[in-house]
Symmetry: none
Subunit: 433 residues, 2 copies
């Protein structure tokens, strides 16, 4: 099954936005073991969309078309699909009703042009819209198929998972294709790509030499900025059960090697974020948490409340951006505020004011200018605990203002995670790389 | 002159990296007034690169091919070009010498496979390498042309500016083409794409009918999630001065129409964010600001500190996630906390505790569960001012937990922006759409 991706939108050709949909789809098709040999992007022009669709159908078994399904005059993917299918567009009344209901639910009046989104090529199957107003389409073309989805990324992703991937799997099973490619990602923080590669080089060599009867496994690294560095394990096997078994064994192997060589650098698997990893450690110990932020300005708090159920353990935070707020609200002693002492005082103040078992204080210089004589990228973290001494750390982080703030937030959370892990083992707090 | 972009690399198809080269080239071709109607991406496979090249040449006058020019076995763009040109590859000794010199200059020994980069299709012109080891190529194919450049972004960009763009300009001049395309984006919040289209339909029709002596202008819409909905103005004219003049006139026209029909929906131009727009209104009035956040959990504060110079007007915030924090720190009266009264009390508490002229309080239900009997997506915003009565608003926002929080943050900032604007005009606070 060869699936070609066609992104529709003049803004893509003009470089006003990147084709992140194509990237996302490429990644998810590969993870599902579906071949994708070509991607195309084309503008909002009827004849050229038709050309792109015909080109894609000539060299692939299926197309996924993103974009051009909205309500305005330049949304013409529907018309191009109808031409390629040699059928007329017909108004789908059920779709039209859902569009009206969506506007009604938001208390907005509906401009008439929204009904264009209910026009469907005759013979196409509708993928019901659950997030936006435009439905997706499954369009048969001979023995091939074109899937059309909106260009809004979260609408596209939801329809891919719910409707397109199951349909593709059915078609692959019908055509007797088998074999799956499955990936798992171990997420690390606080080390470098080359250190990871060096630690795992022997394992990579061993895997290269080994084509076992159950399938093959490969390792790869992907530096992902504030997401850390990812170690991707990819298994190719006859079926999902075998692939998962290979991944389970390999994950164990990789984790053991990394822990022995580099410490607790793996903080999560697949979509687990640093804040989820921290939340899990707090919850398992029954600890409530609060935070006092200066340079990160609410970034740590806003990431923590993204964790479902955060209200069970997250008390809240103080964004003490102005020095006066540090003194008046958090009780930080008068004097310099870009110091390790100030970070600890902020943490202890947050713990007291917000009523938490554990609190984190963070202050530092995001840049571009020095502050209190301290260089940009210098960050101080304080951790305060009920019934245990406070802890302080100094970090030096690279990058511009925005990156220093992002790295500060995740590094501070990682420090908390490692501290909870190592205190439990009765050893001293860790040093940060 | 229609130029198609072909990106080569399996990592693009697998979604391991985004095609930022295609985006960069699209942007720079448009700025130079060169039409680009299609982009393609293809993997490191000889037959499929040949297919992509032939497809591109059939529908365009020129191709720019990025990637696959390196020294390793999977760099096969040269071979595919030779096949499309029906010529052999020949070793270019001058290129080979430069490669050796590059290694020598870096004090490194040169693996032999680097000489592959000196193999050039017979009849192709070399674009000398100045940054990396691989040269670019200008390959005539009949009366058309294929430019090949390395996939390393800064090498690609340098060769585009130095060799490809001048060559394209020569060809365009020879064929009597000229002109530039320039865009400007007006960013809106609080309305729908279809409402914008309806408000501007007459203008779009008038522009379609009008091919003035100074050039043409088109309007398009781009729904961009938490970035709002963008109205893109694109001018095509003989030179940059004329294009900018067309955009200036059109921006004035569009702004007047939108303000008359939909109110102050335009919050910024091009890269201006909502937080920058709010900051500008606060700064111009000499007002300091503070925020008390419940469901947004620090998101508003963290966006505000992204604005350079925020320390001049941003005092700080309280993330009152737990109800107890609302009562104890902000002085919100005991009782329900998901109400308009609570939002106002939070704003007034933040103004008092953090010492600001203006403060915003926000509480609501991000979901997925109801809270205090209130449905997910229901959000209350309070605004407190020094020497003026407080203001309250109820919003109903769509989406899952994360989107409700993001929409809440930007909607609350937009309410503050509109309030500052309308109070100045001596009219009542605006209603939210």
């Amino acid at each position: 099954m060869r699936v070609e991706i066609v992104a529709v939108g003049t803004e893509l050709l003009l470089g006003q936005i990147a084709d992140t949909n194509g990237q996302w789809l490429g990644e998810h098709l590969a993870a599902a073991g579906v071949d994708s040999y070509f991607h195309q992007a084309v503008g909002d022009n009827h004849a050229r969309i038709v050309t792109a669709l015909r080109t894609g159908l000539a060299r692939g078994d299926a197309l996924i078309v993103c974009g051009g399904l909205g309500p305005t005059q330049d949304d013409i993917t529907r018309d191009a699909l109808a031409e390629v299918m040699h059928v007329p567009l017909v108004r789908d009344e059920a779709v039209a009703r859902r569009i009206e209901e969506l506007f009604l639910a938001r208390g907005r009046s509906m401009p008439r042009n929204n009904f264009r989104q209910a026009d469907v090529p005759l013979g196409a199957q509708v993928i019901e819209q659950t997030r936006g107003t435009a439905p997706g389409l499954i369009c048969p073309v001979g023995n091939k198929v074109v899937y059309a989805v909106p260009g809004v990324p979260h609408e596209m992703a939801e329809m891919f998972e719910r409707a397109i991937l199951p349909d593709l799997r059915r078609r692959m099973a019908d055509s007797g294709e088998e074999g799956v490619i499955t990936s798992r990602v171990l997420r690390t923080w606080g080390t470098s790509e080359s250190a990871l590669a060096e630690a795992l080089q022997d394992r990579i060599d061993a895997l290269d030499a080994d084509v076992g009867p159950e399938g093959t496994v490969t390792l790869a690294f992907l530096a992902s900025g504030i997401e850390g560095i990812k170690v991707r394990l990819t298994a190719r096997a006859r079926d999902t059960r075998r692939a998962e078994a290979l991944l389970d064994a390999e994950e164990q192997e990789v984790r053991a090697t990394l822990t022995a060589r580099l410490g607790d650098v793996v903080f999560g698997v697949d979509e687990v974020t640093m804040e989820q990893a921290v939340a899990a450690e707090l919850i398992s110990r029954g600890l409530s948490f609060a935070v006092a932020e200066s340079l990160t300005g609410g970034l740590i708090a806003s990431r923590l409340v993204d964790v479902p159920g955060a209200s069970n353990w997250f008390r809240g935070g103080v964004v003490a951006y102005d020095s006066a707020v540090k003194h008046s609200v958090l009780g930080v002693p008068e004097g310099p505020v870009v110091t390790a002492d100030a970070a600890v005082a902020m943490a202890e103040g947050a713990r007291r004011v917000l009523g938490a078992d554990v609190a984190l204080g963070i202050t530092g210089v995001a840049g571009p200018e020095r502050q209190e004589g301290v260089a940009p990228g210098t960050v101080f973290v304080g951790l305060a605990f009920a019934g245990a001494p406070s802890l302080r750390r100094e970090l030096h982080l690279p990058g511009d203002r925005a990156r220093v703030r992002q790295y500060s937030a995740i590094s501070a959370l990682d420090l908390l995670r490692k501290t909870l892990l190592t205190r439990e083992r009765g050893v001293d707090a860790p040093s940060l790389g």
